[in-house]
Amino acid sequence: MQNGGEYLLELDHITRRFLSVTALKDVCLKLKRDEVLAICGENGAGKSTLMKILSGSDSFGNYEGTIRINSQPMRFRSTKDAENAGIEMIYQEISLHLDLTVAENLFMGALPATKWKTVDWRRMIKDAYEYLQNVGLHVDPRQKVKTLSTSQQQLLSIARAIAKKPKILVLDEPTSALTQTEAENLLRVIKDLKARHVSCLYISHKMDEIFQIADRVTVLRDGEHIADYAACDVTPKKLVEDMVGRKIEVLYPKQQAHIGEEILRVEDFCVPHPYMKDRNIVDGVSFGLRRGEILGIAGLVGAGRSELLNAIFKAQEDGVSGKVWLEGKRIDGLSLRGIKESGIGYLTEDRKRNGFIAGAAIRENIVLASLSKIVRGGLIDHKAERQYATEYFRKLSVKAPDIETPMFHLSGGNQQKVVLAKWMMTDLKVMFFDEPTRGIDVGAKTEIYRLISDMANQGIGIILVSSEMPELISMCDRFLVLSHGKFRAEFTKDNVSQEKIMKAATLVEEN
């Protein structure tokens, strides 16, 4: 069995082109037996293209180069091919059937049958217990999957993958939806698998995880293979620099703006929990924001950061209480429109869902929140509209043929620039950013940071919510850590560190 040489899986000079774009350029990657190889890279580095080729789900499958397993050349034309070769994938987004039971999900596609060709429930439940034990998931196999927590669902996905007895397990940022404790549990399971001769490709850009479980690290950037390291002789700083391709300082072009008087004041703010009755996800918080200041709000996913911004902006009103002042005037009684007109802008977490209109042109999206500026007596002044749209189109250097290009033609970064342009065209005093650089490439990220920094320079007060610690720490002047409904800590630029923020963010859980 061990006749295949040193490497279990070899990707040899893989190149994948899409029309004019080269997604992967001559990438080489080698996975040894019984090891965890971390693959790290920014969005757009080619990780997902690599995953697709490896899982056989690249619908065209016309890449150059060879994949070898145990030194045997392979070509996967369907996901079935890849499974037969012993490769199982675990994706970032959990893909389970929520209305079916744990056991059914576990054996989906290969349900044990009785001699009458009906489902053998008894055997299925019995086997299910065994597989669940493997990943340390203690639930009833008869339970419906929708009753499980996110981390339990993620563990179930892994149990399902292991049930197929793979030789290679590929995990794509499996902890992105998990809390710290849950993530650690997952990492333990992966270490366990290694001991049972399952090798892992672990795709992530979270440094702490990589250094906890990886034996080796491969860095990709812009579709190219950048470096290989043994995990023990590389530093996180070096890895990040490899990932972004330059010194990190350049990535965050933050200039120190003049910080003026207080512009926004929030007192005793409460927001009810979206799922749990009689509980507040934001529970009586108070804070202030100054002109030109960038205030970072840190916290784990689900800590209530987005809910806080939503409620201040009146995107969500039910059950919200608390007082808000803008430039000394109470604004919590206003409608969403009133809040917007008084000078607050809000770039939401999920731009596709509520940030822009995909079917409309760039022009229509830019002017959407400032229609009053291009309307005279109810009629649209088409010339003024084009002028405004062109002005912001150029100012933010949106990459598109012209302002009439529909939004769905643009890349994520350029879509985000248009969303930002929409808010910049309103008369802003305060701007909320919720995960402003999620899913956009490094180049566009830097441009967005520069724009945020410029806005602060103009005296706009900015609140930045981000799960990317380096981004948060480099961009903000002050930090508030939200956990279990309250601010647990406040830091300034001078005394902040990732560790301190993480500690405050997870504080209550450990008590």
Partner: protein
């Protein structure tokens, strides 16, 4: 750069292709029918076609608005009948023309408002609300009329539906004026822009400070009021308010709007497209009649065209990643 501009030209063509398709179908149909039976081009027949088109089109304009916001209204057929009946009854009772018209219109306004409130405030799917309302108003019609038509109508009422200016029927002129207003509002006013924005992405529109609830409600009012107007004109035209005057109209109108290229998913559509759609529906009917083909074929042909139109819309969405 070159390949990109080529691509966007192609996509522009494809984005308009559905209307291009209808225009072609219309032309082929009209030439073929005229060739077989020259009475198609007689003044009487043309007026006839235009008059039938106008009934569909008057309601179609408002339904285009509803569909652009991503909604649907199936109650317009029943509202049409009920408004006609209410106006006819008040006219018979001796009320002045204007008052009797107002009665029908007010009824439509009320139904539209209820539809709008149920959709926006109670969050009930628009299909369910308007389907329910269709039955409710149908019921009202039968309760009020006990199934028999209201006739005869006063002369002033008749003149409204049967009169003409320079040989062009009033109804066609009214449709023309409404079309111009409808198209102008849709493309040149803040209101029109908001209608598109809501259908394009309701949440994005709401967060941009647009009064999405008020605008959504208003399009249902618009639809019901237009249906009332259509019903009143039809009662005048037939010199009687029929309990079944609007039966099937809701679907005919939606079909015309969809064939005209307005998306079932909201966010896009045009009044001109709806005009073509309404015209196509009528020309098919007329053509079958003149070519002495059984009218039973009409539904089959319209059905195929609808599936084709919506299929093309879906294909475009998939192809350009909007789905």
């Amino acid at each position: 750069m070159n390949s990109h501009s080529k691509k966007s030209k192609l996509s522009q063509l494809l984005q308009r292709f559905d209307q291009l398709g209808i225009v072609l179908v219309l032309i082929v149909l009209m030439v073929a029918v005229g060739f077989k039976n020259s009475t198609f081009y007689s003044w009487d027949n043309i007026i006839n076609v235009l008059r039938s088109t106008s009934f569909i089109f008057i309601i179609g304009i408002a339904i285009t608005y509803v569909l652009i916001t991503g909604g649907l209204d199936l109650s317009v057929g029943s509202v049409m009948a009920m408004a006609g009946i209410l106006s006819a009854m008040t006219a018979q009772a001796g009320a002045p023309l204007l008052v009797s018209i107002l009665c029908g219109i007010l009824f439509g306004f009320a139904i539209g408002l209820i539809n709008g409130i149920l959709v926006v405030r109670m969050n009930i799917p628009t299909l369910i609300v308007t389907l329910g309302m269709m039955y409710v108003v149908d019921g009202l019609v039968l309760i009020v009329t006990k199934g028999s038509p209201i006739y005869p109508l006063p002369d002033s009422f008749k003149a409204l539906g049967q009169g003409s200016i320079l040989g062009v029927p009033n109804i066609v002129l009214i449709a023309l004026v409404l079309a111009l207003i409808g198209a102008f509002v849709l493309h040149n006013t803040q209101y029109g822009r908001c209608v598109y924005a809501i259908g394009g992405n309701r949440e994005t529109a709401r967060l941009a400070g647009i009064h999405v609830n008020a605008i959504q409600m208003s399009v249902y009012v618009l639809a019901s009021v237009s249906a009332s107007l259509g019903g009143i004109l039809m009662a005048g035209r037939l010199n009687s308010a029929q309990p079944s005057a609007g039966s099937g109209y809701e679907l005919t109108v939606v079909a015309a709007v969809i064939i005209g290229g307005t998306s079932m998913f909201g966010g896009s559509g045009s009044i001109f497209g709806t005009l073509l759609g309404a015209l196509l529906m009528t020309v098919i009917e007329n053509a079958l009649l003149l070519m002495k083909i059984s009218a039973y074929w009409q539904s089959l042909i319209v059905g195929i065209i609808i599936i084709f139109a919506v299929g093309l819309d879906q294909y475009r969405r998939k192809k350009y990643g909007m789905g």
